[in-house]
Every structure is written in C-alpha cells, then in structure tokens.
C-alpha cells in the first residue's frame, strides 16, 4: 500500500512539474495555456492526496474553470487571428532566468528543505482527543468557522480585494465606445469601394 501511494505521488509530481516545464518552454502560447491547465489539475490531484478535498475542488473551480479560461480568452483576444504572433520566442536574456531558477532550486531551496529536521505529525503524535484518538483533522466546517470568526477581518479584506480587482479590471480593459474600431456596414463598404482612388 505504501508503495502504491508513493508511485501515485511520483506520477502526480511528474505530471505537475512536467506540465509546468511544458508551460514555460512550449513555443505556442495556446499550448502553454493548455499545459497550464494540466499542471493545475495535477496540483488538484496532489491536494486530494494530501486530504484537502475542499481545496482540490476549489483549485479545479478557480484555476481550471476560471483563470485558465480567462487566459485562453486573453490569448485569443490579443492575437492576430490569421497572422503571426501566436508563436512566441524567448526573451533575449532568457539564460538569466534559467541560471537564477536553477541556482535557486539547486543551491538554496533544496538544501534548506532537505537539511531541516521536520517534526511531522507522524513523528510527534497528534493532540490526544477525548478517547485517546488523535484530534480530528480540520474540515470544511472548521474552515467556514475560521472565516467568520478568527479571520473575519482578512476575509472581509479579501472580499474588498476581489471587488477592487473586478472594478479595476473593468476600468483598465474598458474600451471607450468612441475609441473602438469602426466596423463598416455592408453599405458603407460598398460605398467605400466604389469611390475612385
């Protein structure tokens, strides 16, 4: 059973990281966005494995169902549909990014993570419950309570942030009616063509 879980974990991890690598290396930006969806789904599966079902569902709902689709929309809106532009090359100093990321992973994060003695819940027994059972894991009910009691103010701030983001996005992306490109009607088109140069 342990081996099975390990295998599943490795598969999921490979899916997450592999898809992420495809996201950053894919030539075609639409493909990158699709790989992004794959990576998000993998993260959702990892949450399931970590027994955070609610977060897994929220991950799918928000990242896959909303953010990715928003990105695909943005790609399709900012692309010359028939022309070039869909294929993107790398930034000219991409090697800076590569070095920074590689060094960050290999020399900073990985040694820290591996060297630190983690006192996980299995090593230290969980809080004893009433009947000697370990205390129950926090569930959705606790989460909901935390939002309206302990974290009420952050919750409200997050709500305001969402509202401000919504308004801001609308204001930024709003195109004034006057600035919109004029789409000629058929009659105008014909009249235009008929005019001598």
């Amino acid at each position: 059973m342990q081996l099975l879980v390990q295998v599943i974990f490795v598969l999921i991890a490979a899916e997450i990281v592999g898809a992420a690598v495809m996201v950053v290396t894919a030539k075609n930006i639409v493909h990158a966005a699709l790989w992004l969806i794959a990576s998000f789904c993998g993260v959702g599966a990892l949450y399931l494995l970590l027994e955070a079902e609610f977060l897994a569902v929220v991950q799918v709902l928000v990242y896959v169902g909303a953010i990715s689709i928003l990105m695909l929309f943005a790609i399709m809106l900012t692309r010359h549909v028939t022309g070039k532009g869909a294929e993107t090359s790398l930034y000219q100093r991409w090697w800076v990014g590569l070095i920074v990321a590689a060094v960050l992973f290999a020399a900073v994060i990985a040694p820290t993570v591996l060297a630190h003695p983690w006192e996980t819940a299995t090593a230290a027994p969980a809080l004893p419950g009433e009947t000697g059972q370990p205390a129950a894991m926090a569930g959705i009910v606790d989460l909901g309570r935390a939002f309206v009691e302990e974290y009420l103010l952050p919750f409200e701030i997050a709500a305001v942030l969402l509202l401000v983001g919504l308004v801001g996005a609308i204001v930024i992306a709003f195109e004034e009616r006057a600035a919109r490109r004029h789409i000629p009607t058929l009659a105008e088109e014909v009249a235009h063509r008929r005019q001598p140069e």
């Binding site: 990281v17 992420a20 996201v23 950053v24 790609i75 926090a138 952050p154």
Partner: protein, 105 residues
C-alpha cells in the same frame, strides 16, 4: 499519504514548480506567458501551505485559510493582469514585454 511520502518530497515538488514558474516569468516574451509563470509560482506556494498544514498541524485550519486567500489573490491578479495586457495590446499592438519599454532609461 503522510506515512508513506515524507514531507521533503512534497516540498521539493513545490520548489521545483516554483523555480519552473520563475524561469517562465523571466524567460517568456509573451506577457501572458509571464502571467502563467506567476500563477505556477503561486500554486507552488499553495502546495507548500497545504503540505505544512497536513504534515505539521492537521487539526488547525490556518494553512487552508491562507491557501484560500492566495487563491483569491491569484484570481484578482489574473483578472487585473489580463486586463492590463489587453490594454497594452490595444496601444502597442503587441503583448511582447520587450517591446513595451517606454520606461527605458
């Protein structure tokens, strides 16, 4: 899960995801590509939070709460970022960030 997979593995996956996202944010020319890199980084942070919650303090709710706050922030960031990209596209006719350098010294 927690008795078969050590915490380090999960953290390493998150770290790898973060670095890949960082590379994406640094190396992509396309603004939307950069945004994708940032989203990957945010996801890796979320994995960390959930992993710490599960392994270290499963009976407390803090890790989940902050993961949800990060998802909120990510959603807002995506919305505003994409709106900005569309606005940039409208005035520059491109979404390649190296073309948008009016701040050049």
């Amino acid at each position: 899960m927690i008795d078969s997979v050590p915490l380090e593995w999960v953290l390493l996956v998150a770290a790898a995801l973060f670095c890949v996202g960082l590379y994406g944010a640094l190396a992509r020319r396309n603004a939307i590509g950069i945004l994708m890199g940032v989203e990957l980084m945010l996801n890796s942070v979320n994995i960390n939070l959930v992993a710490f919650w599960r392994y270290l303090e499963p009976h407390q709710v803090t890790g989940l709460v902050f993961a949800i706050f990060i998802i909120t922030v990510a959603a807002v960031e995506a919305a505003v970022g994409l709106a900005m990209i569309i606005a940039i596209y409208r005035s520059w006719q491109t979404v390649n960030v190296d073309a948008v350098d009016s701040m050049k010294g």
